[in-house]
Amino acid sequence: MIQSSFAERNLRILFPLPAIIFVALLMIFPVLYTLFLSFTNWNLTSGMPLSFNGINSYRRVLTEPRFLDAVGRTFEFTFFAVVIEGFLGVAIALILNRAFVGKSIAKLLLLLPLVATPVAVGIVFNLFYDPTIGLANFVLKSLGLPQGLWVSSAGSVIPSLILVDVWQWTPMITLIVLAGLAGLSEEPVEAARVDGASEWQILRYVTIPMVMPVILTAVILRLIDALKTFDIIFAMTGGGPGYASETLNIMGFKYSFEYFRMGQSSVILVALFLIVFLCSLGIMKLRASSEIRAG
């Protein structure tokens, strides 16, 4: 019995160590480097060496209307997308949860938007939205409604992008809620039925409260991803027209890889990082406390 070797005793450190080193090198170090750059005026195109300028980059970026607009837009996009996806996702899950012929096919088809390449999805929707040849305007015209400019106009670009996000990610909420519904015990529902509750009452007072934790988790996951939405916006509008669909992620990308103003882009990235981080943290706290109350 010589297995009490060094490796065996320290398995809890040695087993995860390669993964820890990898994440530290590729995530923690770069994030710290970004933080460092945010206190410099580094500009890759100027050819000037990097020099510290304290909080000057912060002062410049944080007071810039373009930045403040991007922050507001990020929240606007996220809020509406996630609220719509939440309600639709739960409603569809409740519909699909009933037994019917073809249920498994319906569930399979629901998976497809989730695995579709977002860039390609964006391009397909651009074909729908095209003001002159697109199907969207054809439908509106056939219904006798005024035609729209969709992603080509500053007024309608955000709702048009939200629609794409809703199409692609509502099934995510549906699938998670369906899995939650499948795991519920039948007893409370049966008991309510014996007591003479209507189907609507059972839904409202028994089923939905029981899957609420799962719904919350699904919405949280969606919210964190929606804040970071990049592919469809970049592919469909590039942040335009003008800056009308520029979210923080898009603005950070442009400052980094189009203008190469690394100092200022770092400020934007730090801001986005903090927003996502604080949202994740706050939501987890909220969820933990609601679970304590419920449990």
């Binding site: 995860p16 590729l26 995530m27 770069p30 099934p171 699938l175 890889f257 882009s265």
Partner: protein, 271 residues
């Protein structure tokens, strides 16, 4: 009874409507990829047309899509393979030693915005002369795959009773050996889930490759995106390109449907 019938018909209509909305963009994309440019820009939009393969000829003939296809496959396969090598032992450790903080640490990579790593990577990889290299792309895609592997596999390992390896350890096996010879062979379904999902997410990734790859290592999403700007109004070609990029992920999903659903809903349901 009559009321129940009406409810059922109503429900079926709803289900059909949902399925149509989900499917329609795919069908329109597929149909458009077989249309000529004239048919695509015609107004009103044409439902009946004589199909042509010219768009696919253009995409695979003139555009060298096969090369980007291979690039995406190389990057995805290596990123997923290496993530399994790093992630499986880490996930086992998280599961057996209840290392919650470590789990959160690795999952941060899934939650935090990719661009906050991407900008520094760009600078670092440029300095190291690794721009447009498979190494840089695989490393970046590993940051997508690793958290998925760790998330799915730590949950999966926790579903395997500890007695499995503990009885072997009573007989004198080391824990390392027990992990290798007993736990891993039991983990097939979990590994399939983790592999499928992380490969699809790597396959679909746009932002990392857009910055880190150029002509040599360009992946499919970039090729599709460039195709739009390159051929401004060639909708048929673009739709054929979109079909080409989505087909593998959709086929994988159909084959591994059960696993994909499990992976996407895992954790959210167990809390």
């Amino acid at each position: 009874m009559n009321k129940k019938l009406i409810t059922n018909i109503f429900l079926y209509l709803l289900v059909v409507a949902i399925v149509l909305v989900v499917l329609f963009p795919f069908l329109w994309m597929l149909a458009s990829s077989f249309k000529t440019q004239v048919d695509i820009v015609s107004w009103p939009p044409k439902l009946i047309f004589s199909p042509t393969l010219q768009n696919y000829h253009k995409v695979f003939g003139e555009q060298d899509f096969l090369k980007y296809f291979i690039n995406s496959t190389i990057v995805g396969s290596f990123a997923v393979g290496l993530s399994l090598v790093l992630g499986l032992p880490a996930a086992y450790s998280i599961s057996r030693y209840a290392q919650k903080k470590l789990a959160v640490f690795i999952l941060l990579a899934r939650l935090m915005p990719g661009i906050s790593f991407l900008m520094p990577w760009y600078i670092i990889f440029s300095r190291l002369n690794l721009m447009d290299s498979y190494v840089a792309l695989i490393l970046s895609h590993m940051l997508i795959a690793l958290p998925i592997v760790v998330w799915i596999m730590s949950t999966y390992f926790s579903s395997i009773p500890r007695e499995m390896e503990e009885s072997a350890m009573v007989d004198g096996a080391t824990r390392r050996y027990a992990f290798w010879a007993i736990i891993l062979p039991l983990s097939g379904p979990g590994i399939i889930t983790a592999t499928t999902l992380s490969f699809i997410f790597s396959w679909n990734n746009f932002m990392f490759s857009q910055v880190l790859s150029m002509e040599k290592t360009k992946t499919l999403p970039i090729a599709v995106y460039n195709f739009v700007s390159y051929a401004e109004v060639d909708w048929g070609g673009v739709m054929a390109a979109a079909v080409a990029i989505m087909a593998p992920a959709i086929i994988l999903t159909m084959i591994f449907q059960k696993y994909v659903v499990k992976g996407l809903t895992m954790g959210a349901v167990k809390g």
